[in-house]
């Protein structure tokens, strides 16, 4: 990336071609497309092309290790639609998203309101409490893996030592408690994200308005409703939609904690697709993950409306 030397008049020998290029650089549209080129190429090659390829693969019967495969139109979609594991996966994904997001929203909002106060060590606490969101999920999930372990879970050990339990709790052993455990770990990881986003919105709440409302005798709840909420409403919506999208598309947490088990009862789209790929069914794996797309598209369309209104 050559930077032009400042005194341009001191280079009289410059060829006509390069000065014409210099003139082009003064045009906004030319500069814009030039700037879009490097990133655009990467995204075309590694995002747009694979996306199209994925749609094509989902309509083939491609298997790992075989170069021959044929176009079977929507056969995979029909077959996966009737697959009981896939149906369970869809149900799980919705449970996972709609159980965890309200908890994350309300607990995150609560945390944001607390962190918005100034107090001793507030900076340190702010940084510390965001840790669940910023450390690698695959690694923090290991802590939960042990907390939920059938033999070594400290909850089981303490419960037995204190005489509350007769035997260990097998957190990840049956479908219901495995799903509940996944939800708990997901809520834990997501609270800080909500808290930071909402906290950023709270700084835009004018404090004079709060003081004026307090002088008028408004209760804290009334002040929250009429002063704070209108300012952060859009941020709450945007953050919630983002979180639903990410929860639907999650992989790491489920992969580390249950790998979709016991007996395929806790899969989300990502882990089931990964399992299909591991078994060699490339076409079906692509179909499973693409089934996620319509849901994501709807969420993205709603999100886009709110993000644009923010503009």
């Amino acid at each position: 990336m050559a930077v032009q030397p400042l005194p341009r008049t001191s280079v009289p020998d410059r060829s006509r071609a390069s000065s014409r290029f210099g003139a082009l650089l003064e045009r906004e549209w030319f500069l814009a497309y030039l700037f879009l080129l490097p990133g655009g190429l990467i995204l075309l090659l590694f995002m747009a092309y694979p996306f199209g390829l994925g749609i094509w693969l989902s309509m083939t019967d491609k298997l790992v290790g075989f170069s021959d495969y044929s176009f079977i139109r929507l056969e995979n979609y029909r077959w996966i639609y009737g697959d009981s594991i896939f149906r369970q996966t869809v149900v799980n994904t919705f449970i996972y998203g709609f159980v965890t997001v309200p908890f994350k929203l309300f607990l995150g909002l609560g945390l944001a309101l607390l962190l918005n106060e100034t107090f001793r060590f507030s900076r340190l606490l702010r940084a510390g409490l965001l840790l669940p969101w910023i450390v690698p999920t695959a690694l923090s999930s290991l802590a939960w893996l042990m907390l939920f372990d059938a033999v070594f879970s400290p909850f089981s050990l303490l419960g037995r030592q204190w005489g509350l339990l007769d035997s260990n709790i097998n957190f990840l052993g049956d479908a219901f408690s495995a799903r509940a455990s996944l939800c708990l770990a997901n809520i834990w990881r997501g609270i800080p994200f909500f808290a930071v986003s909402i906290l950023a919105g709270l700084q835009a709440v004018p404090s004079e308005l709060h003081e004026a409302a307090a002088l008028d005798g408004a209760s804290p709840w009334q002040r929250f409703q009429s002063v704070t909420l209108p300012v952060i409403r859009n941020i709450l919506l945007i953050t919630t939609l983002f979180s639903i999208i990410w929860t639907f598309a999650d992989f790491q947490l489920v992969y580390v904690l249950t790998k979709g088990g016991p007996v395929n009862l806790t899969h989300v789209f990502g882990t089931y697709s990964y399992q299909k790929m591991g078994a060699g069914y490339i076409g079906e794996a692509a179909t499973v993950s693409l089934y996620m797309f319509p849901i994501l598209a709807v969420l993205a369309a709603i999100l886009l409306r709110y993000v644009r209104r923010e503009d």
Binding site: F35, S207, L296, L304
Partner: protein
């Protein structure tokens, strides 16, 4: 701010300190547990009669085991190389895209901004199957390039979107004044706008670094063989064994693998939040 601030004494403790303590315990508890287990000798870990949260004889055995007996240092190197190169590449592309979409007027600019935002919403779980075919076709399996070229698929849309919002917050008059004074567009960008955008670029960079370091699915599928694993993948696929002696070293690895992002992030926490603000309210 006035919500709880007006309450005094016992009321404040009840309304403010108690809930805050509840959050701190819930959010930090798993890390504390990791730390305790990583420092516990095996015979204490196996003693189910002992209070699991007590640490009688702390030891670094598990950490020593990781460095001596596993490939964790190699995995750390892999992760660092991939993350740093992908971050630099993505940030360069994103500064250019963010500048073009945030500050230049041209036909199709608005639509491209929407496309970038939508690209940000396409999750790796939708792309990894066909992307694996692309990686194979280019012969990139188990090489750094596999991740260096695929991480930008989520880093560029995200960083471009954030920077686009940031560039818009910088006053247009500054640039116009420079153009009137005879500077070229290129100079106006390089000498006036970019220096002002450094906080935004920095926080986009930290975001990219954390996202890259934490990535799991692409690393698992495209670079998951032999000694080319990244830290999260290496720890999860090498160290989870079906025996009882795993927990100490597993937790130690979890701590070690989290330290780089925790440091990168804690140094720049203010920049991180201010960048997020600019991105979320202006973007």
């Amino acid at each position: 701010m006035a919500m709880v601030g007006s309450a005094t004494g016992a009321k404040r403790i009840l309304r403010f300190h108690v809930p805050l303590a509840f959050y701190a315990v819930f959010l930090l508890f798993p890390f504390l547990w990791m730390l305790i287990v990583s420092l516990k000798p095996d015979q204490e870990l196996l003693d189910t009669g002992q209070n699991p949260f007590l640490l009688a004889n702390a030891t670094f055995t598990h950490y020593r085991y990781l460095f001596a007996e596993t490939d964790i240092l190699r995995y750390a190197l892999n992760t660092a190389v991939v993350t740093v190169v992908a971050t630099v590449l993505s940030l360069t592309c994103s500064v250019l895209i963010g500048y073009a979409l945030g500050r230049l007027r041209f036909k199709g600019g608005y639509l491209l901004g929407v496309i970038i935002f939508l690209a940000y919403l396409v999750p790796p779980t939708v792309l990894f199957i066909p992307l694996a075919q692309v990686v194979a076709r280019f012969n990139l399996y188990n090489s750094y390039w596999a991740l260096i070229f695929t991480y930008p698929t989520f880093l560029i849309p995200f960083a471009s979107w954030l920077l686009m919002g940031y560039f818009r917050t910088i006053s247009r008059e500054l640039e116009d004044a420079a153009l009137v004074d005879g500077a070229s567009r290129w100079q106006a960008m390089w000498r006036i706008i970019l220096p002002l955008a450094i906080p935004g670029i920095l926080s986009a960079g930290i975001f990219c670094f954390t996202l890259g370091w934490n990535e799991f699915l692409y690393a698992l599928v495209f670079m998951g063989g032999g000694d080319m694993k990244t830290i999260p993948v290496g720890v999860v696929s090498d160290l989870i064994r079906a025996d009882v002696y795993q927990w100490g070293s597993l937790m130690a690895a979890g701590i070690l693998g989290s330290v780089p992002v925790a440091i990168a992030y804690s140094f720049f926490v203010d920049q991180y939040i201010s960048g997020l603000t600019a991105g979320s309210t202006k973007g």
